[in-house]
Symmetry: C2
Subunit: 269 residues, 2 copies
């Protein structure tokens, strides 16, 4: 192969790293790909890291040790999450989104690829140090954001179901009391997880906290530790959130004829 120039190497390294967030690539991998020396690749990595830092496009880190190499994490500059979340709060405050029963219509936003990717990255950024084994969500609306959080963390996603499905195989089922006081069911395939693993819970919305209590009890049945819980939107005035629970946005209870009040969670910088 013809010699690959620095600009070309950076274009390829950038593409490979961002397609696989949080995955460690050895320097040798890139040395072989480009037929370049380790010192050259090392310098490339430093340029990539510095450039993306300048343009706030995420972090490129060198990991030392036996399993070392280089990895990309879509951690935006700390200044960049808040304007995005504030803009989202503004969109969600539209009175046209208020539904009977004091709900807010957010299904459209929760299925916009660019929006859920950014939300997933913002959520993931909180949990890089937890070393969880998978991300858990409960069907349906939280799946896109949970998938993007899992992707940013380089973890598989596990989806709990509302009922038993033939194509999930043997399952563990639990019942729980939903926010509205009804008895609901939650089901998870025995094949999906292993005892002794740990997980992060990512879900779209919490009000009474019923669903997340269900997920906790489900993880308890499987002997799985929960290392963090994050919602896209939490309604204030419901059950007191657990110490390890975060929400990207906080919504005041919706009252007829009053404007919708919604703001970024305090941890969104």
């Amino acid at each position: 192969m013809e010699k690959v120039k620095r600009a070309e190497r950076l274009a390829v390294m950038g593409r490979v790293l961002t397609a696989n967030p949080n995955k460690i690539f050895t320097l040798s991998y890139f040395c072989e790909l480009f037929g370049a020396a380790k010192s050259t690749i090392s310098e490339d990595t430093a340029i990539l890291a510095r450039t993306w830092r300048t343009f706030r496009l995420g972090t490129v880190e060198t990991v030392t040790g036996a399993a070392g190499g280089v990895r990309y994490r879509p951690i935006g500059n700390v200044e960049s999450a808040r304007p995005f979340v504030e803009e989202l709060c503004k969109r969600l405050s539209d009175p046209g989104r208020v539904l009977p029963g004091g709900y807010l219509y957010l299904s459209d936003i929760l299925a916009e690829p660019e929006t859920v990717r950014r939300l997933g990255e913002i959520i993931a950024a909180q949990y890089y140090e937890t070393n969880a084994d998978f991300v858990l969500t409960m069907e349906t609306k939280g799946i896109p954001v949970a998938l993007e959080a899992a992707s940013a963390l380089h973890l598989p996603l596990v989806i709990a179901r509302r009922s038993i499905k033939v194509y999930e195989g043997g399952a563990v089922n639990i019942s729980y009391v939903s926010g509205s006081g009804r008895i609901e069911m939650m089901s998870l395939s025995r094949r999906a997880v292993k005892e002794g693993q740990s997980c992060l819970i990512v879900d779209d919305f919490t009000r009474g906290g019923g669903t997340v209590r269900g997920m906790r009890s489900l993880m308890n049945e499987f002997g799985i530790e929960i290392r963090g819980t994050c919602f896209v939107l939490a309604m204030r005035g419901g059950a007191k959130p657990a110490a390890d629970e975060k929400a990207v946005m906080i919504l005041d209870p919706i009252q007829d004829g009053r404007p919708v009040v919604i703001r970024p969670g305090a941890w969104i910088k």
Copy 2:
């Protein structure tokens, strides 16, 4: 700002373009970002396109005309889809995946971020010329792949539900006969789509074709044209697929004690 070098510009352009597949960025956008001349950015674009073509990392195209600029499409080199799909077929052929009732366990694979991204890209590549307005899926298992297909096409995702939900607002509901002969319901918020739009259907699995008939009839209720339908897996021997239906993988009916036979769709090159 200090002058940005070619290698740095390529690292940034690559990152911006791949984070927004199929979105057109004007050359002026990058000229302003880097304080560079149009001819420089034009040359950068050509290098990026050539490099990614060489390394099979997707296409960078210059779009001419008033709304012109540069865009990235994650269309792998034609040689690259088939080995990926063949590997997936091999994983799915594991006899341990066979479930009672002749089903195959694929929930894990359908929620692996890297796998669903690749599947979404392979599916999307077939539909860049359809100019559809959104991607439709039916909850639950197909959501991750459908999201990634929508992302690759720069389109919103719309998720049909199995029952009416208070937080979806007013909805159109239809009933349909499922593959197993039961009457099922499908529901879609009136807010989710507009009459006169067009869509692509992406779903995880088809056997009798009941669910997709339901989705067709739902789109008909909304006055929406369907411009393509693609499944991750289709079981052969069910209903004859419609002319515009594709599947990434084809599964022979599962028989007790016989090996699972699964192969890439004929269009997977």
